[in-house]
Structures are given as C-alpha cells and as structure tokens.
C-alpha cells in the first residue's frame, strides 16, 4: 500500500479541529469534512482551548480575526491549513511564517476540501519524515566529528597510525558495550583533563 492509499483510507479516523467563527463557510467546511469521514471539532473563540490529538487544524487567518498565531506556529504535531478571505501580503506573510501545509479560500466550496486535506496531511507527514531524518543526520555528523578528534588524540598519544587508533576505539567501545561516539567522547574528555 502506498503512502497515498494509506492517507486516503485513514481519513476516516482523522481528527480535525476547525478554528473558525460560526458562519456559512464553517458549516460547509465541517459538513464536507464529516462527509469524507473525519471527526470534526469546531472551536471558537479559541483562547486556550486544547488542540491536542488533532491530525489537522483548519484556522481562520484574517488580520482582525484569527486565533493566536504564535501558538499555532509552535504546534508541530498537526497539519495546519489556513482559511483565508484576503489574499493580501499581510495575511500571506503571516501564514508563511507559521509554515502552513495548505490554504483554503473563502467562500469555501465542498468540492476541493478532500484534495486540500489530503495534500496538507501528505506534506505534513513528509515534512515530519524529513525533520526526523535531518535530526538523525545531525547526530551522525556530530558523532563523526567526535570520533575523528578522538582518533587524532589517541594516535598522537600512543604514536600509532590513525587507522590503528580508530580500530582501538572500536574494540574498546565493543568490549565496554558503548557506542563508538560515547567512547570517543570519553577520550576527548580525558584528554581535556590531562591538558589542564
């Protein structure tokens, strides 16, 4: 099953929060979301209402009438979709700053909501996968730098080649059952103490 298949099938277990004052657009949006199988909660005014457990959040983005946007920009566990009535730069800046995953324009039409939600969810999930990959790569890069430094320290200290120094660190790490980067870290720390 592809990612797209999964997303479409899981729509019926999807929790969607709609942060929008009651009006005709909210009725059309919420009805269509329910029609495609989502569980919908409508919240207005927003204030400090809980947004936990939302897979996607639709929020009104009007200069004079939107929920606390700072709060939404800190929200990293839901897809964010702005509902806009003005396409002026002020609004567009605000929603790009938050990093929305989709936009839907007023007047809201039933047709388009399904495609909009699927796109936003798929971008949100993709973004999540990229972010966790970046975090892992960061970690790898940091540990590689550490291992290189520890290898140089050890080679110098013991007058051995860097290859042998690396092999030594690896063997030590394995016998002590720690990761190579942890081993490297303790070598670097020990070296710091000696240099004091």
């Amino acid at each position: 099953m592809t990612e797209g298949d999964r997303l479409i099938r899981e729509i019926r277990n999807c929790n969607v929060v709609v942060l929008h004052p009651p009006d005709e657009d909210r009725v059309i949006l919420s009805h269509q979301l329910r029609r495609i199988g989502c569980r919908v909660s409508e919240i207005w005014p927003v204030e400090d209402a809980s947004l936990d457990g939302a897979d996607a959040i639709y929020f009104l983005a009007n200069p004079d009438q939107s929920p606390d946007l700072n709060r939404l920009s800190d929200k990293h566990d839901s897809a964010l979709i702005a509902v806009v009535s003005y396409e002026n730069p002020l609004v567009l800046q605000a929603i790009t700053n938050i990093g929305v995953h989709g936009v839907i324009t007023k007047p809201v039409r039933s047709i388009g909501v399904f495609a909009n939600l699927i796109t936003a969810l798929s971008i949100f999930k993709y973004e999540g996968r990229l972010n966790s990959r970046i975090a892992k790569l960061d970690e790898t890069l940091k540990s590689r730098r550490m291992v290189e430094r520890a290898t140089r320290i050890l080679a110098e200290h013991q007058s051995i080649t860097e290859d042998s120094a690396y092999a030594l660190i690896r063997t030590e790490a394995m016998s002590k059952q720690v990761t190579i980067s942890e081993m490297a870290n303790s070598i670097i720390n020990t070296d710091k103490i000696f240099k004091k």
Binding site: R9, R12, R35, I36, S110, I111
Partner: protein
C-alpha cells in the same frame, strides 16, 4: 403556488415549467443515455397527463450533447441562460458531469444525475440518484468470491470511472486474499478488432472472473468478443456494474447469457410499481423494448422533482433540496430516498444473472435500502467469504 406561477409569467392559459434535459442521443454513450431519455420523457408525460404540478406543466427542453464534454458544457450553459431553466436532468459519464458541474454551481441551478459513478464527490447543486460503489460493488465482489473465485481479470473503458472503480475493487480484493491477474483499458469507441485482441489476452490468463468497467456501446463488443474467444460464462462470467437490459439488447444471444450485473433495478423486479412502470413504458415504446435501470432511475428522479415542486413554490435549489429531503418515493425498484447528508440515494441493490432472452434473473437482493456512502467512510475494505 402563486409565487412560482407569477415567476413563470402566467398567461391565463397553461403555465409551463421549463426543464433542461441533457442526454446523449449519439456517440459511445448513446445506448445508455437513450434509455435515460426515455424514462425522463415518460415521467414528464405521465405527470402532465395527470394535471401537472398544481396546474403547471413540465416542459422538457431537450439537447443532445453527443457524448462530448465540451458540447455538454456549452449546452448546459445555453439551457441555464437562454432557456432560463433552473433544473437539468442529465449527464451520464463522469467526464461530462465534471464538465457541467461548474456551470451548474455558477448559476445556482440543480442537476439531477441518474448514473452509477465512482463516488468521491458531493456538490450541493447535484442530486445523485444512481447507486454509489458501496451499494453495488461490495455485494457484487462478495457474491463473485463465493461463487466463482478470487482471480480477477479487469477490463475497462479508459476514463476515470473504470480506473477508480478498479482501484476500489482492488482494495477489497487485496484485503480479502484475492488477486488481479491483469488489468486492461480500452479507449471508448474502439472498434471490434481491438476488443478481439483484448478477449484473446483475457483468455490467456484464464481468470475466475472478468470484471468489466467497459461502458455504453462498447459493452456489447466486449461480451461478443469474449464469447467468440471461447470464454464460457459458466466458468468465467463477465461481472459489471453498468450492463443492463439495454446493453444486453445489442449483443448476440449466445454471448449475453450467464453474466453477472449488480444494479438497483432489473426489469424482472417484482413490485406493483414496476408492473405499472413496465406497462406504461411498453405502451409508449413498444412491447419488444425492455425498460432498464437507466429509464427507471430517470423516471423516478422526475417524479421526485415533481413531488418537491408541489411542496415548495420555488425552483431555487436550496428550497427544492430541503423539500426533497423528506420524500420517500415508491419507485419501480422499491422505496428510494435522498440522503440529506450527501445528496445521494438510499436504494436496494440487486445482483442479476443475464439470460439468453436479454433479461436478468435476480440472484440476490439487499433486505432493505442501503445508505449511500460516496466516500466509503464506513468500510474497512474486507469482504466476508462463506
């Protein structure tokens, strides 16, 4: 209904309510849409004969979109602007519905759409009176599993309907241990030679079932070619969601027997309403013409509009829709009702096996009307096997 009468300009004599009728009388969908047209005209005539709607008569304005999306769009626009209709009965294939939909929405009009289609749509300006995939696909696949097996060969007309229906069927197949041995698509209107090649390929895979989403005039070419290729309906029937009596009528006797179709109506349905419907149909179109689901659905949807019109004195879609909500119409197929959640129709699916005479023997029917679920919200994609 003083409002509507004055709106339509009462002239002391008959007042007419103009109604747009947009079914293709030529092109690859004509065999199906001529049946749509027959049912529509029959209902209009019946209603007018019985005094119309509060004395006002329905006046059909009939245009032929020739199975072409661009022409359909142009004609819908013409009906809504020049002829000033606000209700259109019409469209069959999804490509044409999609072409007409923006025009209907822009003019705030109402389209009564009578076809079975692939679902995943809702417009507040469309009343969908055909079946949705949950109503017919699921019972059909279940019956095929239990009777014939789980190896499906898929063949379809190359457009959204066939691709989406096959996607849905595959979801159910794969979750339930079935398999797709091949999947072929043919351009609409392809010649008989192409179908012969397709039948050859299908035979090579010796599947348990040929699952066809070939529509319209091409249907007969497929069934005839499969028969000529020696594929026997006894061992490997062609299963369809659109092959009705009107499609069977275009086939050879040898090739139309023993195949399986799931639809909400067959000519052989036993209800009092169907008896009346059939005799009315045959008195208008001749005794050798059999009514099929396409005429039945369009017949019913005109009656639903007529009942809604006599409840509200307005042609405004919102007013009509809210009137339609409460209507339970005793159609030839049984009781039907529009679901206010999604504007699709509660109806009773049936499965028929075709006979050499060009009719269907009903081998299964739902015990009660099934809720339409155009977005397949309520299904986990598995099929129960006995």
């Amino acid at each position: 209904m003083p409002d509507l009468k004055s709106e339509l300009g009462e002239n002391g004599r008959d007042t007419y309510i103009p109604i747009g009728v947009l079914f293709s009388q030529s092109g690859p969908m004509s065999v199906t849409e001529m049946a749509h047209l027959k049912g529509t005209l029959m209902a209009i005539e019946e209603i007018n004969k019985n005094g119309g709607i509060d004395g006002m008569l329905l006046q059909p304005i009939i245009d032929d979109p020739k199975s072409d999306p661009a022409t359909s769009r142009k004609l819908a626009n013409k009906l809504l602007t020049q002829d000033q209709v606000s209700v259109i009965f019409g469209c069959c294939s999804s490509s044409i519905r999609k072409a007409v939909l923006p025009i209907i929405e822009r003019h705030g009009a109402l389209l009564f759409y009578p076809s079975f289609y692939e679902g995943f749509e809702y417009s507040p300006n469309i009343v969908y009176t055909g079946a949705t995939p949950n109503q017919t696909v699921i019972p059909l696949v279940e019956l095929l599993f239990n009777r014939y097996g789980k190896r499906f060969a898929m063949v379809g007309s190359d457009y959204i309907y066939a691709h989406e229906i096959n996607r849905i069927v595959k979801e159910f197949l794969i979750e339930s241990g079935g398999s797709v041995v091949t999947e072929l698509y043919i351009q609409q209107g392809a010649d008989k030679e192409k179908f012969k090649l397709v039948a050859e390929k299908l035979a090579m895979f010796s599947p348990d079932i040929i699952f066809s989403t070939v529509v319209g005039v091409d249907t007969a070419k497929l069934y005839d070619s499969c028969q000529e290729e020696g594929i026997e309906a006894r061992n490997c029937p062609i299963a369809s969601l659109t092959t009705s009596e009107s499609e069977l009528a275009g086939m050879c006797e040898e090739s139309r027997c023993g195949h399986i179709t799931a639809l909400p109506y067959f000519q052989s349905v036993k209800t009092d309403e169907n008896q009346k419907f059939q005799s009315l149909y045959q008195s208008k179109y001749g005794s050798d013409d059999l009514p099929c689901v396409y005429s039945e659905t369009t017949y019913s949807q005109v009656h639903i509009l007529s009942q809604a019109l006599s409840r509200v004195s307005s042609l405004a879609p919102e007013a009509l829709l809210s009137a339609i909500e409460g209507i339970q119409f005793h159609a030839p197929q049984g009781s039907i009702m529009i679901d206010p959640d999604n504007n699709h129709t509660y109806l009773t699916p049936r499965i028929g096996q075709s006979t050499a005479e060009g009719t269907f023997e009903i081998v299964w029917q739902a015990p009660e009307p099934i809720k339409p679920d155009p977005y397949l919200v309520a299904y986990d994609r598995t099929i129960a096997t006995i």
